[in-house]
C-alpha cells in the first residue's frame, strides 16, 4: 500500500494536479476578453502589470490592504492557516526524505519543532474558520456543504499527519491515511474551488490591471487597496 501511494499514485497525482492547475491558468488568460471585461490589456500592458503586481502584493502581505487592517483577528487566522497549509508540507523533513529518494534532491527542512507548531497553527486556524462559518450570519448564509467539505479535505492531511507523527494508534495505517489524504487534496486542487491556489493570482492580477489601466493608474493615482 505504502509503495503504491508513494510510487505510481504519487506520480499520477502530481501530473493531474499540477497539469490541471496549469490548464486552468491558461484557460483563464485565454478566456479574458478586453471588450467584455472593459480593460485594454495589450496596449496598456505596462500600466496593467504595475497595477496587477500592486494588487497581488496588497493581498498577500499581511495587514497591507485596507481589508486586512479592518479585520485584524481574521487576518491573523487567515494568514496562519494559509502559511501553515503551504509551508509545512513543502519544508517538512519527512517529505524531503521522500523527495530525495524520488528525485535526488531536497529542499532545506524546517526544524521539527517549528514544523509541528505550524501544523498546529494550521489546524487551529482551520477550526476557527469553520466556527466562524457557523457563528456569523453573514458567513452562514453563504456557506454550503461544499465549503465544509473543502475545509475538511484541506485539513485532513494535517490531522492524519499529526496522529502519525505522535504515533497514536497504528502508525502504518495513519501514515497511509496521511499520504492518501494529501493526495486527495492535491487531486482536488484543479477541480474544485481550491483552484484558487492559482486563480487567486489570476483574478487579483486581472482586477489590478483594471485599476492600473482604466480605474486610476493611467491618471497617475494609485488606488489604495
Amino acid at each position: 500500500m505504502y509503495d503504491f501511494l508513494t510510487g505510481p499514485m504519487l506520480w499520477a497525482t502530481f501530473i493531474v494536479s499540477f497539469g490541471g492547475l496549469l490548464v486552468r491558468t491558461v484557460m483563464y488568460v485565454k478566456g479574458l476578453n478586453w471588450q467584455l471585461d472593459r480593460v485594454a490589456y495589450r496596449p496598456n500592458m505596462k500600466y496593467g502589470i504595475r497595477g496587477g503586481v500592486r494588487s497581488i502584493l496588497a493581498f498577500i502581505i499581511p495587514f497591507k490592504a485596507r481589508l486586512w487592517q479592518t479585520r485584524p483577528g481574521f487576518t491573523l487566522l487567515f494568514f496562519a492557516f494559509h502559511i501553515g497549509l503551504l509551508v509545512t508540507p513543502v519544508f517538512l523533513e519527512a517529505h524531503n526524505v521522500m523527495f530525495r529518494n524520488a528525485f535526488g534532491f531536497s529542499l532545506p527542512a524546517l526544524p521539527t519543532g517549528v514544523a509541528d507548531g505550524l501544523a498546529w497553527v494550521c489546524l487551529v486556524g482551520g477550526l476557527f474558520l469553520l466556527l466562524r462559518r457557523i457563528a456569523f450570519p453573514e458567513v452562514r448564509i453563504l456557506t454550503t456543504f461544499y465549503d465544509y467539505l473543502l475545509l475538511v479535505i484541506s485539513v485532513m492531511p494535517f490531522i492524519t499527519g499529526l496522529i502519525a507523527r505522535y504515533e497514536m494508534g497504528n502508525y502504518d495505517f495513519w501514515l497511509a491515511a496521511h499520504i492518501a489524504s494529501g493526495e486527495i487534496w492535491l487531486l482536488a486542487l484543479p477541480f474544485t474551488k481550491l483552484s484558487h491556489v492559482v486563480l487567486f493570482f489570476m483574478s487579483r492580477m486581472q482586477l489590478g490591471m483594471d485599476y492600473g489601466i482604466k480605474r486610476g493608474g493611467m491618471k497617475g493615482t494609485d488606488m489604495a487597496w
Binding site: W34, D37, R38, A65, L67, E138, L142, S203, L207, K219
Partner: protein, 463 residues
C-alpha cells in the same frame, strides 16, 4: 404567455412607443404585465455562454464564501446588516443560480433578480476593493442587468430611460433644436453681465469640445451658462456640438448594451466632425463613466481611450486654477465647514481623487474643509447610484440607502456639501428633503463663479 404591450423583450425604439409607455403612469400596467412575461430560457443560456468570459466565471467559481465583502457594502450596513445584503450572497443567489441552472429559470426568479439588481446594488464597485479574491460584485451586477434587460425584466423608468436614449439620444426628450436653442438662450440671458459671452455651436477645430448631461438643458440650463462663463473668463477657445452633446447613458444602468454603444458613437462622431484638441464633460460621474471610462470599450476602441483626450470637469477646473486662467479672490473663499462627495463613478472608477482636493485648496479658507470618513476611493455611494434615484418602485429602499451618506455628512459637521456629480447632487438633495438635516449642496461651477477675481476687461461696463 405572450409579451405585454409595455413590458416585453423589445426595446423602445420609436417616439410613439415611448409616449405610450410614459402614459402608463408609474408603470402600473407594465408591472402587471411583467407577472405574465415568459422567460426565453434558451436565449438566456446562449447569451450567457457567449458573453460570460473567464473573469466572471472564475469569480462565481472561486468566491470563498468568506463574507468579508459584507461590511464593505453600504446597503448591508444601512439595512440592519441582514445577511441577504451581503454582496456575495446577492450575486450568488441571482446570477450564480441562473448560471447553475443553465438559464432554466422562471418568471418569479427573474423578478427576484430584478429587485436585487436594481434595489440592492448601485454598482458602486466598493466591495471589489475589499474582496481578497478581487471579486467585483458591482461589475457582475452590471452584467446581470444586461441579461435581465434582454428578457424584459427591467424597472419601468429604466426601460423608458434607455428608450429615451434610443429615440432622442439623450436621457430626456431634448432634441437637437431644443439643445441649440437652449445654448443660444443662455448666451443671450447672460450677455449683459458677461460681455462677449458666447456658446459657440459646431465650431471646427476648437481647443475644447464641451458635452453635458441632458438634465442640464432640460432642468438646469443655468449650468450650461455657468460652464460658458467659466470658459469665457478662462479665455478658452471652445465649442459644443449640435449633435452628440449628451454624454450620459441611462442605458448603461438599464443594461441596454446595444444602446450604450449607439450613444457613445454619437458623441465620438461629434469629436471626429469637430476635431477639437480635447473634450471636457460636465460635473457628472455617471456621464463620465459612460463616455470616457466604459464608452471606448462599447465603441470597440482597442486602446480603451476616446478618440481625443476626454476629461472630467474637475480636471479642467483644477488645471485652470493651477495655471492661473481662473483666479479666485481670496476674500471670497469659503469660510464655513464644507465637505466633499467623492463620486464613485470618477473616483473609484478613474482615480480622480486628488484634483478635486486641489480645487478645494483654492476655494476654501484653510482649516474649513472636512473630509468625510471614509473618503476618496473608499467613499460610500451617495445612495442613489446605478439608477436607484429614478426608480419609483424602489423609492423606500432608496431612502434607506441615503442614510449612510447622511451619517457621513453629519459626522463632518459641515452644512455645505460639494457634489461635482449630478447623481450625487440629486441624492443629497433628496436626502435633505427626506431627513431634513439642514444642509446645502452645490456643484463647483456656481461656487467658483461667485469667488472669481474677474479681469477688468471682462467686466460689464458701468453706465
Amino acid at each position: 404567455m405572450p409579451e405585454g404591450i409595455f413590458c416585453n423583450k423589445t426595446p423602445i425604439n420609436t417616439e410613439e412607443q415611448l409616449k405610450a409607455t410614459l402614459g402608463d403612469k408609474g408603470g402600473k400596467q407594465y408591472y402587471e404585465e411583467m407577472n405574465h412575461l415568459d422567460v426565453d430560457t434558451d436565449k438566456l443560456w446562449s447569451t450567457i455562454q457567449k458573453t460570460m468570459k473567464s473573469r466572471t466565471k472564475t469569480w462565481l467559481d472561486i468566491c470563498a464564501h468568506c463574507g468579508l465583502c459584507a461590511e464593505s457594502c453600504f446597503l448591508y450596513q444601512v439595512n440592519g446588516r441582514v445577511p441577504e445584503q451581503v454582496p456575495s450572497y446577492k450575486i450568488q443567489s441571482t446570477l450564480g443560480v441562473m448560471v447553475k441552472k443553465k438559464g432554466k429559470v422562471d418568471n418569479a426568479f427573474m423578478q427576484m433578480c430584478m429587485e436585487t439588481a436594481w434595489s440592492k446594488c448601485t454598482c458602486c464597485n466598493r466591495c471589489g476593493m475589499y474582496c481578497p479574491h478581487g471579486i467585483d460584485v458591482g461589475v457582475m451586477f452590471s452584467y446581470l442587468r444586461g441579461l435581465l434587460y434582454s428578457q424584459g425584466f427591467v424597472p419601468w423608468e429604466l426601460k423608458i430611460g434607455s428608450g429615451m436614449h434610443r429615440v432622442y439620444r439623450a436621457q430626456m426628450d431634448v432634441t437637437t433644436e431644443d439643445w441649440v436653442e437652449t445654448c443660444e438662450w443662455m448666451a443671450e440671458e447672460n450677455e449683459e453681465d458677461w460681455p462677449g459671452l458666447e456658446i459657440p455651436v459646431d465650431k471646427v477645430g476648437a481647443d475644447i469640445m464641451y458635452t453635458c448631461n441632458a438634465r442640464e438643458p432640460k432642468h438646469y440650463p443655468e449650468d450650461i451658462a455657468e460652464a460658458a462663463i467659466l470658459f469665457h473668463v478662462a479665455g478658452e477657445n471652445w465649442t459644443v456640438p449640435s449633435e452628440g452633446w449628451e454624454q450620459t447613458s441611462l442605458s448603461m444602468f438599464a443594461g441596454d448594451w446595444e444602446c450604450c454603444k449607439d450613444n457613445v458613437l454619437n458623441v465620438y462622431s461629434a469629436l471626429e466632425r469637430l476635431k477639437p484638441k480635447r473634450a471636457i464633460g460636465t460635473e457628472c460621474g455617471h456621464a463620465h463613466r459612460a463616455t470616457v471610462i466604459e464608452g471606448p470599450y462599447w465603441a470597440g476602441r482597442p486602446d480603451g481611450q476616446p478618440p481625443v483626450p476626454y476629461i472630467h470637469y474637475v480636471e479642467w477646473l483644477a488645471e485652470a486654477l493651477r495655471s492661473g486662467k481662473l483666479k479666485i479672490d481670496p476674500s471670497k473663499r469659503i469660510k464655513e465647514l464644507v465637505t466633499l462627495q467623492d463620486s464613485c463613478n470618477y473616483v473609484r472608477n478613474q482615480g480622480l481623487k486628488d484634483v478635486t482636493r486641489e480645487i478645494l485648496s483654492y476655494i476654501v479658507e484653510p482649516g474649513y474643509f472636512v473630509e468625510m470618513s471614509p473618503n476618496k476611493e473608499h467613499n460610500y455611494c451617495c445612495g442613489g447610484g446605478g439608477g436607484f434615484n429614478g426608480i419609483g418602485l424602489y423609492r423606500a429602499q432608496r431612502n434607506v440607502a441615503l442614510r449612510k451618506k447622511m451619517e457621513q455628512i453629519l459626522d463632518t459637521g459641515a452644512k455645505l456639501v460639494i457634489a461635482p456629480c449630478h447623481n450625487c447632487w440629486d441624492a443629497i438633495r433628496d436626502l435633505e428633503e427626506e431627513y431634513k438635516i439642514g444642509i446645502r449642496w452645490s456643484f463647483l461651477k456656481p461656487l467658483i463663479i461667485k469667488m472669481l477675481d474677474v479681469p477688468e476687461h471682462l467686466r460689464p461696463t458701468e453706465e
